[in-house]
């Protein structure tokens, strides 16, 4: 049986060699993000910080434009996520409980459009639209564009959650004389929280990371979110300021990583198609 054993060992060797190569390939670019922010004078190479420092983070904190951009990111991501959750849960509730003619077709068409009206191709007419209605270079413009893009996915996902909620709660509430809005606020909203967390996390993470939409639809510095601001951090002679960039990248990426860890621990990481890209 010596021959088979040799083959087994060879197989195991190839197996681990492949995994190590792939693992290295994915690890190396990320290592810079972990080491550089703590190096006193970061370069583009990967250097383990022997004298780790928080100076680079202090520089970010004292950089007005950088901090303002983080706040803008929060305004745009949270604003849009809140509107998506609110309007999509209302629509999903109505779609779930009432037999409207053609409702499947409406949801189908919306999801279809949200997967084709994406990226730069969608930005050409949307830029023009915002220009016409005076929302270019405003938080509201960016928020509404994101909202329009995420609503179909939101409705689609939340309808599934609400379909699973038993009608008996609402029926007893109606007998007790509750209004439609009360039923929605006191029964449906709390009961569909897990669904809203999924939709919220999905929207927030993607809007927080999006570069293209604010890059094209905003003009003035004081409106820019972190995604665009980071692109402009250069020093006096126009070279990228790596101290600022590395620490800022770290701060800017951290919420996304934390959200990932939280959701994968609590719900098990799931993914939904549609808007990624």
């Amino acid at each position: 049986m010596a021959k088979i054993e040799f083959k087994d060992i060879l197989f195991r060797f190839i197996y681990y060699a492949l995994l190590v190569i792939i693992c290295t390939f994915f690890a190396f670019p990320i290592l810079w993000l972990i080491f550089a922010p703590f190096n006193p004078g970061p370069t583009l190479s990967i250097e383990i910080p022997l004298n780790p420092t928080l100076e680079n983070f202090a520089e970010v904190l004292s950089h007005g434009y950088a901090m303002n951009a983080l706040i803008n990111s929060l305004i745009q991501s949270l604003g849009s996520t809140a509107i998506v959750i609110f309007f999509s849960s209302m629509a999903a509730y109505a779609f779930s409980r009432v037999n409207l003619p053609g409702k499947t077709t409406i949801i189908y068409i919306m999801v279809l459009f949200s997967s084709i009206v994406v990226g730069i191709a969608a930005m050409v007419p949307i830029f023009f639209l915002l220009l016409e209605i005076g929302l270019i270079d405003t938080h509201m413009g960016v928020i509404l564009v994101f909202t329009g893009g995420f609503l179909p996915t939101g409705i689609f996902l939340l309808k599934d959650f609400i379909d699973d909620i038993s009608h008996t709660y609402e029926e007893s509430a109606i007998i007790a004389g509750a209004s439609k809005m009360q039923i929605f606020k006191d029964i449906i909203f709390p009961l569909s929280t897990p669904g809203m967390v999924v939709v919220g996390v999905f929207c927030f993470a993607q809007i927080w990371s999006n570069f293209l939409i604010p890059f094209l639809l905003l003009r003035s510095q004081e409106m820019m979110p972190a995604a665009v601001a980071i692109y402009t951090f250069t020093d006096a002679i126009g070279m990228p300021n790596l101290r600022l960039i590395s620490a800022y990248s770290f701060i800017y990426t951290l919420p996304i990583i934390l959200i990932y860890l939280y959701t994968s621990k609590k719900y098990g990481f799931r993914f939904y198609g549609g808007l990624k890209g």
Partner: protein, 288 residues
């Protein structure tokens, strides 16, 4: 008992419907209208020019150059890169539970969720000729190289970059696809001593066929629209990486030629539509 009257239901749906119409459907329709005009932000005039924009577009060498680059980019980074690497990872992870699996799969997912601007900086650092860790690794294993990757191999750079960036989706999809194969199939194959190749061709591939279709359509659609390579190469050197999204950006937003830019957008939206319809058809067939 009627929980919600039809009238109230319509009121509940209306705000969402209005926003979706304004920011998804209307823009798509308006692109058609704009593409037939000569609207330019610089001239501030608008008149109808019929199909002139399309005539100019289809006779523009840059357009065909970018079509060709986009094709190479999509085949290289989505169909081959993300798809094959994702499948390979899922197969390597199948029925395994070791530390290197959890490290690797988490790294693959992290590289997918890091914001694109940060990813672009990481890769500029990784590929840098003087300091980049890619050259350092290659020197370490014995290749004495000092390659300026982005400028010497621009297409290869963005293809490998986008593979790194997006493999997570294919990996996760194939991991859950492999879960659906009844273990008894593979156990039986083991008993009769089938080779790995036979197991792949006779059991694994036929069972995950639909997943593979879904995966290919979605990652092709996303890769076709991805703008992130702009942050790495800005379409250069020269026009060497001017894929369609970057070409559209230059025409519409740098030269401010919205009529012409809309013509390109319309072509892109139509291609997206074809992919999406394929996808929905596949999903419908799957549900039966």
């Amino acid at each position: 008992m009627e929980i919600l009257s039809k009238k109230t239901a319509v009121l509940f749906i209306l705000p969402a419907l209005l926003l979706m119409f304004l920011f998804l459907i209307f823009p798509a329709i308006w692109t058609i209208f704009l593409s037939l005009s000569d609207y330019s932000l610089l001239r501030q005039t608008l008149s109808f020019v019929g199909l002139d924009n399309f005539r100019n577009l289809f006779s523009d060498g840059r357009f065909w150059n970018s079509i060709q680059l986009t094709f190479i980019f999509v085949i290289g980074s989505a169909v081959i890169g993300q798809n094959i690497l994702g499948l390979l990872l899922a197969l390597l992870f199948y029925k395994k539970d070791n530390i290197i699996k959890s490290i690797t799969s988490n790294l693959v997912i992290v590289s997918w969720i890091i914001p694109s601007v940060v990813v672009a900086y990481l890769w500029r650092a990784f590929l840098n000729p003087d300091y980049g860790s890619l050259n350092q690794i290659l020197n370490f294993v014995g290749f004495s190289l000092n390659v300026d990757w982005i400028n010497t191999y621009p297409m290869l750079s963005i293809i490998v970059f986008n593979t790194w960036r997006g493999t997570a989706f294919a990996m996760m999809l194939y991991m859950s696809a492999l879960e659906t194969i009844p273990p008894s199939y593979l156990e039986t194959a083991d008993v009769i001593g089938a080779s790995l190749w036979r197991k792949l061709c006779d059991i694994i591939f036929p069972s995950i066929k639909t997943y593979m279709g879904t995966c290919l359509i979605l990652i092709t659609l996303w890769t076709f629209n991805v703008f992130t390579p702009y942050l790495l190469t800005a379409g250069g050197p020269g026009r060497a990486t001017e894929i369609l999204p970057i070409y559209t950006y230059f025409e519409a937003f740098r030269h401010m030629e919205f009529g012409f830019g809309s013509a390109i957008s319309l072509v892109m939206l139509m291609i997206n539509l074809v992919f999406a319809l394929f996808y929905f058809k596949l999903m419908k067939g799957d549900n039966k």
